[in-house]
């Protein structure tokens, strides 16, 4: 009788090691947690050799750079445009973006909305840390009312607009097959977030149209909380503003309305 060890959890083999030994994120940053979820799903679906990932510019960028997966990096805010072309030209089964909330819905609002309107058969994974992490913690579209950032030193107020609810909003577009919002602040939420990602990828495999999953992540240095307090902030404040769940889940988009001879 001996004891056998079976690895049941730990970093995916798709993280390129040891060239990039250390995850290039701040202590307590949850973006790599989401990165890991994506890799697990891609592996479980057996797609890592076929997939092409299209990162935006932000802290998220540095994750796909250390994945063993073909990748096309882009200009800030343009992943949806780039992914559109990559998908149409290659017809690869899985083409998805990885973007920050600013990348996806500030500078990227046009590309994201337009890809959704075209019903592009791509998936957007957007990480909502409610600020611009990379550039030092400025307001982002998902910054919540009252939140202090380097460009809302008194807290986001009247003149800075209201937080964006991207999955809800895009759910209202015809060409969109799937939208959801997840978080990784608890193991249970993390597992749910993973299911959302899987479901979104499946939609793409089914050719159902555009899919998007937003995932809320902690950003300790810019929130000025300890990592543990960040989780509390997510739980008490962010989830009150941004409910988790699926907001659209359809199999196929509607049928044409005939136009009389022109």
């Amino acid at each position: 009788m001996a004891v056998k060890k079976e690895k049941v959890a730990g970093g995916s083999d798709l993280w390129i090691r040891p060239e990039f030994a250390v995850i290039p994120s701040c202590p307590g940053c949850q973006e790599p947690v989401v990165g890991q979820l994506i890799l697990e799903v891609v592996e479980e679906m057996g797609l890592d050799g076929e997939a092409i990932v299209v990162p935006g510019v932000g802290c998220t960028t540095f994750l796909p750079v250390i994945w063993n997966m073909d990748a096309v990096l882009t200009a800030h805010g343009r992943p949806c445009d780039v992914a559109t072309a990559v998908k149409r030209v290659t017809k690869a089964p899985l083409v998805f973006t990885v973007q920050g909330d600013g990348d996806c819905f500030a500078i990227g609002a046009g590309p994201t909305v337009s890809a959704a309107l075209r019903g592009e058969n791509i998936t957007v994974i957007t990480m909502s840390n409610t600020n611009y992490g990379t550039t030092g913690g400025q307001m982002s579209p998902t910054t919540v009312t009252g939140q202090r950032t380097t460009t809302t030193p008194e807290g986001r107020g009247e003149m800075q607009g209201h937080p964006a609810h991207v999955p809800e909003l895009l759910g209202g577009i015809k060409g969109v097959a799937y939208t959801a919002r997840g978080a990784v602040n608890t193991p249970a939420n993390l597992q749910k977030a993973k299911r959302y990602i899987k479901e979104a990828f499946q939609k793409q495999l089914d050719g159902a149209g555009f899919s998007l999953v937003e995932i809320i992540v902690a950003c300790p240095p810019n929130w000025h909380y300890t990592p543990i307090d960040c989780l509390k902030f997510i739980d008490e404040t962010l989830l009150a503003e941004f409910p988790l769940g699926e907001f659209k889940n359809v199999d196929r988009v509607e049928q044409p309305i005939p136009v009389p001879a022109q």
């Binding site: 056998k4 060890k5 079976e6 049941v8 959890a9 250390v22 994120s25 307590g28 947690v33």
Partner: protein
């Protein structure tokens, strides 16, 4: 016999403390008093007996600094 075992890679850890917070069986202590070369406060796998290899500490670890192993009694190869 303990049912699980975790390995913490000190050189990857950035000391966030998520692993300790979410281990439902309190197997992990953080802060532990140990520091990494970069000055991060390391966690300790302080109560290995209680570990059931649920994997949660690894899921929650942003830096993939934990591997979780299930310990199973195995016949010695025939």
């Amino acid at each position: 016999m303990p049912r699980g075992e975790i390995v913490i890679f000190d050189q990857h850890c950035k000391g966030c403390g998520y692993c300790a917070k979410f281990c439902a069986r309190d197997c992990i202590t953080h802060p532990s008093g140990r520091y990494s070369p970069q000055g991060y406060i390391l966690p300790d796998f302080s109560a290995p007996d209680k570990c059931n290899a649920c994997g949660i500490c690894a899921w929650m670890c942003p830096d993939h600094a934990i591997d979780v192993y299930k310990l199973v009694e195995a016949e010695v190869a025939a």
